[in-house]
């Protein structure tokens, strides 16, 4: 089965493409909408906004989440802000500039049309959220305030203290609950999707496990929307919430959805360094801190002096030195690699020399402690709570950590995967960020997808199919259900000697070492031997206690880790095949003399889309060529 990678990108002038596409889309009349059932898996920003909007339109929506409430989704943890091309600051921002910054920030590895549309609807998102009552930061005159984020020379980031994701998600959650109250959306909490059901080449439903009772159930739909978040937790240690996982998209991949650019992962430069082996996750310190904090290391290697005792002229503000135009606000991939470089060369600080300073002394001097407290108070508090050090008086220590995955299921301009009727939104898809995402753009993308795009494209799809037509007795549903049962039984019967976390930690170490911030062919080949071995051992030697008929967190974890053990291999394979450096994907063999990422546009100006070929078989790599009609392909420069 060869993929049809038709991106369905409209032609014509860039700024008219989305309007044109909308105009050409078919509609479902209001009276007919309730006859169509749409399953939305995930109720984070992308899924929640999609479910609410589809409910408002009158479709019969079933929304699933493994969480106990939409408000717990990982989106809640986003701190810094959300971008929008409002140009309220009169500093020269425009839809085009946001588009250009995003394309360039992504190192020219995303689709022009998609990114332009994202920039275009960004302004509507802010309107929508304000109307919902999202308490964004304000100026004294009552208008909205902005801050700057990396990779931009304008101030276009809207924020609600250090809790922007929380406030956006609460707005979206409230809109969703309103539809629940209206009877248009039915919520299935604590339900985990364990398989996708494809009938006659179309996505027709899902199989879920009720996490409280253990019951395995089938659900039929006319279209399925996945908004299940990213897979950064493949690395075990990441800034993602503990329960984030790839199961939904991975099972969809195994049912025929193409996986786009699995190797594109983002390592965030400003996280609290790891403190011990028991560490269960890493904590992000928002990029917004780079607005007022300055990053430095001592000029002398292995300097163990108290940072406050190191005089100015013995400090190396290396980002300001290396990238004078953007300084501390250069994009994430660049800032992360620079930190790694400094530490690799022996300038790192703190335990094991794996840290650099993020210093607020100057801005506290300039703006006063109160202003800094107002801007970042909760982040400073969080830092102090975790490390026991006071960042108002001692510089923070930070180090890069896995944060976001640009890769995900491949989707066309309609956000439809290679399986008709299966749509993918938010971090779960591969779409708009190319090889590197700019700060404050994930929230924007999730909400653009959910509020403003999917309502049109799902409608267009549904307008062309008859509602209903299959039920859960269909052979494909029964087969999928049986597979889920079988797998569950197998996981519980191994009763080996290692815990699920033992395997997850080991996988994480392999990925971090060989498929992390810097990658090379021998390392990736090594990982490609190690991961299948580890997976083999997992299925022989894991111990999953408890039963299938109960609430069983070990079983939940085991299923997710089993999928990471497969996905991890695909990440390495993709990284090996992409013989260039771009954005977050840095291949040591491909760098400029100054150590910057060196793209190979001749050979790799495309998205890699992987097709599952069966267990134990090498997946097939397809490509979607990327055409740049409006921007000039240039080497990124932030100097």
């Amino acid at each position: 089965m060869a993929f049809q990678l038709d991106s369905r990108t409209p032609s014509g002038p860039l700024e008219q493409r989305w309007s044109k596409a909308k105009q050409e889309m078919k509609l479902v009349s209001p009276a007919n909408r309730r006859k169509y059932t749409v399953i939305v898996v995930g109720s984070g920003l992308a899924g929640g906004s999609a479910a609410a909007t589809l409910g408002e339109l009158g479709y019969n929506v079933k929304c699933f989440s493994f969480h106990d409430s939409p408000r717990r989704a990982h989106s809640i943890a986003a701190q810094g802000g959300i971008n929008a091309a409002k140009n309220y600051q009169n500093d020269g921002d425009s839809v085009y500039r946001l588009f250009y910054d995003t394309i360039k920030g992504g190192d020219f590895r995303s689709r022009e049309s998609n990114v332009y549309r994202l920039a275009e609807v960004s302004v509507n998102i802010i309107d929508q959220c304000v109307a919902q009552g999202v308490p964004f930061a304000r100026e004294y005159g009552g208008t909205l305030a902005n801050r700057s984020f990396g990779g931009a020379q304008v101030s276009r980031t809207f924020y609600a203290r250090g809790q922007t994701g929380q406030q956006l998600l609460l707005g979206c959650y409230q809109a969703l609950e309103r539809q629940v109250d209206a009877g248009r959306v039915q919520m299935f909490y604590r339900h985990e999707m364990l398989d996708l059901v494809v009938i006659d080449g179309r996505a027709r439903g899902i199989v879920t496990r009720n996490l409280v009772t253990g019951s395995i159930d089938c659900h039929v739909a006319d279209a399925v929307v996945l908004a299940t978040g990213g897979y950064g937790n493949a690395f075990y240690l990441s800034t993602n919430a503990k329960n984030c996982n790839a199961t939904a998209i991975w099972r969809a991949y195994k049912r025929g959805a193409g996986f786009g650019n699995p190797c594109y992962t983002q390592i965030h430069p400003t996280c609290i360094p790891q403190s011990g082996d028991y560490q269960s996750k890493l904590t992000l310190m928002s990029e917004s801190l780079r607005n007022d904090g300055r990053i430095w290391v001592p000029k002398q290697k292995g300097d163990t002096r108290n940072p406050n005792e190191i005089p100015e002229d013995e400090r190396d503000y290396y980002l300001e030195r290396m990238y004078p135009a953007f300084g501390n606000l250069c994009p994430r991939d660049i800032a992360s690699r620079a930190a790694k470089l400094m530490c690799d060369q022996g300038y790192g600080v703190g335990p094991g020399g794996r840290g650099v300073y993020l210093d607020f002394k100057e801005s506290i001097g300039r703006l006063g402690r109160k202003t800094i407290e107002e801007r970042y108070g909760n982040l400073f508090e969080m830092y102090e709570r975790i490390t026991g050090e006071d960042p108002y008086t001692v510089p923070m220590r930070i180090y890069p950590a896995v944060h976001y995955t640009m890769g995900g299921l491949w989707v066309d301009y309609h956000l439809q995967s290679t399986i008709p009727g299966l749509f993918v939104l938010g971090e779960a898809n591969f779409s708009d960020h190319g090889a590197n995402r700019l700060g404050a753009s994930a929230l924007m993308q999730g909400l653009a997808d959910g509020y403003f795009i999917i309502s049109y494209t799902v409608g267009h799809f549904l307008a062309q199919v008859k509602p209903g037509g299959v039920n859960t007795d269909h052979a494909e549903f029964r087969a999928a259900r049986q597979e889920v049962d079988e797998r569950t039984r197998r996981l519980l019967s191994i009763k080996g000697r290692k815990t699920v976390d033992d395997f997850h930690r080991e996988l994480g170490k392999i990925l971090w070492e060989f498929c992390g911030m810097a990658r090379n062919a021998p390392g990736l080949k090594h990982a490609l031997e190690k991961i299948p071995e580890l997976r083999e051992e997992f299925w022989q030697n894991v111990n999953v206690p408890g039963s299938a008929e109960d609430l069983n967190q070990s079983l939940e974890k085991a299923g997710r880790v089993a999928d990471f053990l497969e996905l991890g291999e695909l990440m390495c394979l993709d990284a090996l095949e992409r013989e260039e450096s771009c954005g977050g994907h840095f291949r040591e063999e491909h760098q400029t003399e100054e150590g910057e990422a060196k793209r190979d546009d001749e050979r790799f100006c495309h998205a890699a889309v992987w097709e599952y070929a069966g267990d134990g078989k090498r997946p097939v790599r397809h490509v979607e060529p990327l055409q740049f009609e409006f921007v000039h392909l240039a080497q990124r420069s932030y100097k």
Partner: protein
């Protein structure tokens, strides 16, 4: 350091539970409380026993998933801290602790330390929103909001829905949670049109879900990991009283059509 844990173990909502004692030998002071429980759970798993079920996700104090009682205090002894953000450096070597789930009629225990807090969602669904369909919003800066109002709304909106306020309250009232939403939306001009309806419906729903009434004990404010203030409850009472006088559910006869 060594820690002794007495943990409430309960198989499911219909079985009885009991306290079980565990000793943990090498706890590191830099661990978070949940990381300490991870270590215990790894040990139990290796021994072939069922690990302790507790809810958690972000481990950054923002998702509101975590929460149980430590020595009778929701989220434990540190003020303004969720249990995922609590570190072992606040305990001493050899300390003995009692862990129990949040106790409230409206929060049935699902397993061990995990409770069902879905009543909160149903209260939000009853009216904790601003009715605005996607696509019908006016230009954002056309609604100026006083900075003080936005800031106060944000203070209330900081609630993470963990339920500690209910667990702390002798009446198991959800007033702090409910009032935080009423205040957040009521303080903003966008929330004004539905202010009466919101107060009326949310307060009635809270009672219906089996939460108690507020008697101004103030435990909720003292325990709230996000510093949500009891003054919100005053605002809720005012809005509710006003709604009783002024609000009527929409007439079915409705608009012209």
């Amino acid at each position: 350091m060594k820690i002794i844990l007495n943990i409430w173990r309960q198989k499911n909502s219909s079985s009885p539970g009991k306290m079980v004692r565990y000793e943990l030998g090498n706890v590191n002071e830099h661990m978070s409380f949940l990381e300490m429980l991870d270590v215990l759970n790894e040990e139990l798993t290796r021994k072939g026993e069922e690990p302790v079920t507790f809810e958690h996700d972000c481990r950054e104090g923002i998702c509101g998933s975590c929460g149980f009682m430590i020595n009778g205090i929701p989220h434990g002894p540190e003020r303004g801290t969720t249990v995922c953000q609590l570190h072992m450096r606040h305990f001493h070597d050899g300390e003995e602790l009692w862990l129990e789930p949040f106790r409230a009629k409206a929060f049935p225990v699902l397993k061990d330390l995990m409770v069902d807090r879905s009543a909160f969602d149903r209260i939000i669904a009853a009216g904790g929103y601003i009715s605005i369909n996607t696509g019908s919003a006016p230009e954002a800066n056309s609604i100026p909001v006083k900075k003080q109002c936005a800031d106060r709304a944000m203070d209330a909106a900081a609630c993470i829905g963990c339920g500690a306020c209910v667990a702390a309250c002798p009446n198991a009232s959800a007033s702090l949670f409910v009032s935080a939403k009423i205040a957040h939306l009521g303080l903003l001009p966008q929330g004004e049109p539905e202010r009466d309806r919101r107060a009326m419906r949310m307060v009635l729903k809270m009672t219906e879900e089996g939460f108690g009434y507020c008697t101004n004990t103030g435990e909720c404010e003292a325990i709230c990991p996000k510093g949500v203030k009891i003054e919100n409850i005053a605002m809720m009472h005012r809005d509710f009283t006003r709604a009783v006088a002024l609000f009527r559910e929409e007439s079915k006869a409705g608009g012209a059509g």
